[in-house]
């Protein structure tokens, strides 16, 4: 199997910054690192497994109703993930609220199934799905890192900015509340795309 199947989706063909897929439900979970990582893992699993399963049954799916078949397969995996999250990390699943369900309509999953799973063999589809999920997770984690650090001064809930810096304790530092609000996630992604496209141009 070609190693490229695994490596290109993570950086060169990153689903978020290059292909613009799956931004929908992603950004709302990036206020804190922990839910972002849980979300990244869930999406990676769902993309990989559903691509794999669709690829297994690709020859039996009638073309006209393939969208519904795909949605049902994806929904099944998402329900599994949701039940597992509820059982083992209940707090995080409360924070993620409806966004776990919205993995179903995450464009990355449908996009990869349409572009790869429907035509390729099961194993490469699994790898392709997993790699795309990881590429997506990478962006999610980078955005969450900055939003949590600047917005609330913590990482994984642990204080990073020393308490004595804060204005309340005689310092001059204040958390930047804007980073917790939705707009900053959009602007951060915009900047990430800017950085990535400038670097890639130099490669050519």
């Amino acid at each position: 199997m070609d190693k490229k199947v695994f490596t290109t989706p993570i950086l060169k063909q990153n689903p978020i910054t290059v292909l613009v897929l799956g931004i929908c439900s992603a950004l709302a979970v990036t206020v804190k690192l922990e839910p972002a990582i849980v979300m990244a893992i869930s999406v990676t699993l769902v993309t990989g497994l559903s691509s794999f399963l669709i690829s297994l049954i690709r020859k039996t799916i009638p073309n006209r109703i393939r969208i519904i078949v795909q949605l049902v397969v994806v929904a099944m995996f998402v329900i599994l993930i949701e039940q597992i999250l509820k059982a083992y990390v209940y707090d995080v699943s409360k924070q993620l609220s409806v966004y776990v369900g919205l993995i179903i309509t995450n464009c990355i999953i449908m996009g990869r199934i349409e572009a790869f799973g429907l035509t390729e063999k099961p194993l490469p589809s699994l790898v392709d799905g997993l790699a795309n999920g990881l590429g997506y997770g990478l962006i999610l984690i980078v955005v969450a890192f900055f939003r949590e650090l600047i917005g609330s001064g913590t990482l994984f809930g642990a204080q990073i900015i020393p308490q004595s810096w804060y204005a309340a304790n005689g310092g001059a530092y204040l958390n930047n509340g804007l980073f917790i609000m939705p707009p900053m996630a959009l602007i951060l992604i915009g900047c990430l795309i800017w950085i990535q496209r400038s670097i890639q141009k130099e490669d050519k």
Binding site: L27, I68, V72, C107, M181, I187, G190, W194, S198
Partner: protein, 204 residues
Amino acid sequence: MESLNLFVKSIFVDNMIFAYFLGMCSFLAVSKNVKTAAGLGVAVIFVLGVTLPINYLLNKYLLSPGSLTWISPELANVDLSFLSFIIFIAVIASFVQLVEMVVEKFSPSLYSSLGIFLPLIAVNCAILGASLFMQQKAFATLGLATCYGLGSGVGWFLAIVSIAAIREKITYSNIPKPLQGLGITFIIAGLMAIAFMGFMGINF
């Protein structure tokens, strides 16, 4: 009064795009000119306005815990809520397919202008998202749920038409090369989201 309040709130304060990032994919992909953006916006309003009441009834009489008592009181302990993702997405996908067929049959001109967007809508996160939020907010009546659906649709329409208008205007602006296209669109969306934050706290 309550329904008007909910309607206005779901347009401006709880805007699908700027507060919850739902429907980002088509928001970014189909906002290159105002006309197509408006077409997709209208289709979203329509699909939301119909699927939300359907899903509300399904949720009330089939899915939520203890909702099966109308069949027989013995079923009071049955909780089918884990099935909600699969049922909601099936309703949405089949409704979209149905609308597509009806429109194709009876109004070919509308079909040619709207047709390409209809399949896109089945995987638009805003539609499934609205149904999931409806389940979470547990509206009291069918009317309120419909108001919420229509309001979210109008909010989405407003957002996509305004960003399409802005993108038309900036076509000739001098933007740094790597930031062109996607990058600047994200940053504009972020700035618009900041503007929409000004609506917070609207109440009648």
